[in-house]
Amino acid sequence: MFSRAYKAAVTLPPLVWVTVFLLMPYLLMFCYSFWSVSASQTIEHSWNLANYGQLLRVEVYWQTLLRSMWIAARVTIFSLLLGYPLAYFLSFYAGSKKDLLYQLVIIPLWVSYLVRAYAWKTILGSDGVLNTLLQYVHLTKHPLEFLLYSPFAVVLTLTHIYTPFAFLPIYAALEHIPRNLVEASHDLGATPGQTFWKVIFPLSIPGVVAGATFAFVLSLGDFLAPLLLGGPSGIMISNIVVSLFGAAYNWPLGAAISFCMLLLVVSLLFFSERLEKKWSFS
């Protein structure tokens, strides 16, 4: 249908773009992960697995990775617990207010990440809105210190930021459920509760898997929230990568950690895709 020249002209630019700005940096990073830094702060191109060994041996690295996964897992669970009921309400009960409410969920996505993170800082800090209020009503005598600079603050902020990402695919999945299936279920004698667990929820699983993947992957790689609100106990793996590529000047080790993260995320995406396919029936 189209000439070869036309096809080449159309496919070449994106292909070049992906190669130069995506594949080559990845390849470079992959190479770096086998190199090392000499005492004189230069990169030595000697191929070895020392960086990966260090990752397994040095406690702080794999522990931070585990903590990051645990934070991401909590963010995922809370995002789903908030996002699912919201999506369900909007899709099934909001009626004419549906579009308005949908926009209200989306609007925060237009606000800068930094602004939202800083907002939590002013809310959770020892002189923050929440502590001032708690002391004012005499619920506490002293400011609660665990509110800010803790994993709690990180989980809270990331949940706030990534809930819309969990909400959107769930909402899309719920909107796709033919309403006559719900009617058929009622018709066959199922109560609204039975209908939810036997028809609506199973058919929304692809959306839940997609939403969970979004929330987990995005929060696993996050470094701003832990940087601003995490404190020493809320450090995540990306903060370590940032410092290795920056002040610590150990690009090879940073590359090794990055590559492990990439592997983790890609395999996660692969499995969630499989899971989504298994549960979709269109």
Binding site: E183, H186, D187, P202, F281
Partner: protein, 368 residues
């Protein structure tokens, strides 16, 4: 305005149903969505074991009426009773009514077997009872071989059968069918019409069948309720509604007809050049004359009570066993006549019909 109230006397129950008890009673039901009136003042009784068809064009309100019975819509006014129970106050899941949906609405994540078992499972019947009942229902619709398939893996006609089995396995007192055959091709549809009808006789429960296809309605129903713009036009047996249509709309919607507009004066009807004797009050009158009741006249003398008219054949349409010819009569009146399909030229003919076959019908005024 031609409003029909339907007390049992004129609702035309056929002889074998006259003795049966009333199962469902729709009383003065109306429905409007905002300012849009969809149903007005519908009263209709359905007998035990009856096959009743709600027939109407799209937008006539037939599906809305079905959805009110099923419980997916609430009536704006009126009541629905099943025996001594006020049905319209119950949520759909408490009504002993099951529905076969237009697009079947099978659960895509469940197998055929699980779909059929759904109603029994949510009713928490013991598994020892569920298995044989599901098996029996699948056997009844000849789908036992597909028990483990997912709905997406079987054809439309097979999905249709599963939808039927899924509803019938619950032993409802009343089965509602919302244009269940409309998605099937013509051959399969005719086959399913016969199967559905014999299945209904076999299980002996009442069916309310919604369709826009008058032929389908005629083939399957004990009675037809003809709905037009939200009002019942006529409720009668297929024979009666065809032979004695109450209104011009009923006459035209079901089969072909010739509508003759005339005037009655002193026991004589005059429609243009046609005249015949009839015992009717004076005034304007409208008659329906079926094409098959008009013959090509033979012999020279008209029989008693028959009317003759000359005309010229303008068009012939071949319909297999018969032919529909359009005859333009002397004063411009056009009559459609059904003749044995013999073909022939567009020539002069003399037509004859019995005045008893010209059925007086009410006008069907436009409704908004």
């Amino acid at each position: 305005m031609a409003t029909i109230s339907t007390p049992p006397s004129i609702s035309g129950k056929s002889g074998n149903q006259a003795a049966s008890a009333t199962l469902l009673s729709i009383r003065n039901v109306a429905k409007h969505f905002g300012k849009n009136v969809v149903l007005r003042d519908i009263s209709l009784d359905v007998a035990e074991g009856e096959f009743l068809t709600i027939l109407g064009e799209s937008g006539s309100g037939k599906t809305t009426l079905l959805r009110i019975i099923a419980g997916f819509e609430t009536a704006s006014a009126g009541e629905v009773w099943m025996g001594e129970e006020r049905l319209d106050r119950q949520p759909p899941y408490r009504r002993r009514v099951n529905t076969v949906f237009q697009h079947y609405a099978l659960f895509p994540h469940l197998t055929v077997e699980q779909n059929v078992a759904y109603g029994l499972r949510v009713a928490k019947r013991p598994e020892a009872e569920i298995a044989p009942r599901v098996e029996e229902a699948l056997a009844k619709v000849k789908m036992s071989a597909h028990a483990k398939s997912k709905p997406s893996k079987i054809s439309g006609g097979q999905q249709q059968r599963i939808a039927l089995a899924r509803a019938l396995v619950n032993r409802p007192r009343l089965l509602l069918l919302d244009e269940p055959l409309s998605a099937l091709d013509a051959n399969l549809r005719r086959q399913m019409q016969v199967e559905l009808k014999s299945l209904q006789r076999e299980v002996g429960i009442s069916f309310i069948f919604v369709t826009h296809d008058q032929e389908e309605a005629m083939v399957m129903s004990d009675r037809i309720a003809l709905l037009r713009s939200g009002e019942l036009e006529q409720v009668a047996t297929p024979r009666e509604i065809y032979g004695r249509p109450a209104t011009a709309y009923a006459a035209q919607f079901i089969g072909h007809t010739n509508l003759l507009k005339g005037e009655v004066r002193a026991g004589m009807v005059r429609c243009g050049v046609l005249t015949w004797a009839a015992v009717l009050p004076d005034g304007p009158a409208l008659f329906s004359l079926r094409p098959e009741n008009i013959r090509l006249a033979a012999g020279n003398t008209a029989m008693a009570g028959s009317v003759r008219i000359r005309g010229k054949v303008r068009h012939r349409a071949f319909h297999g066993a018969t032919e529909l010819i359009r005859v333009e009569c002397d004063d411009g009146l056009v009559l459609v006549v059904r003749t044995p399909g013999s073909g022939g030229a567009l020539n002069e003919v003399e037509l004859e019909f019995s005045s008893a076959d010209a059925v007086l019908v009410r006008e069907s005024p436009e409704r908004v």
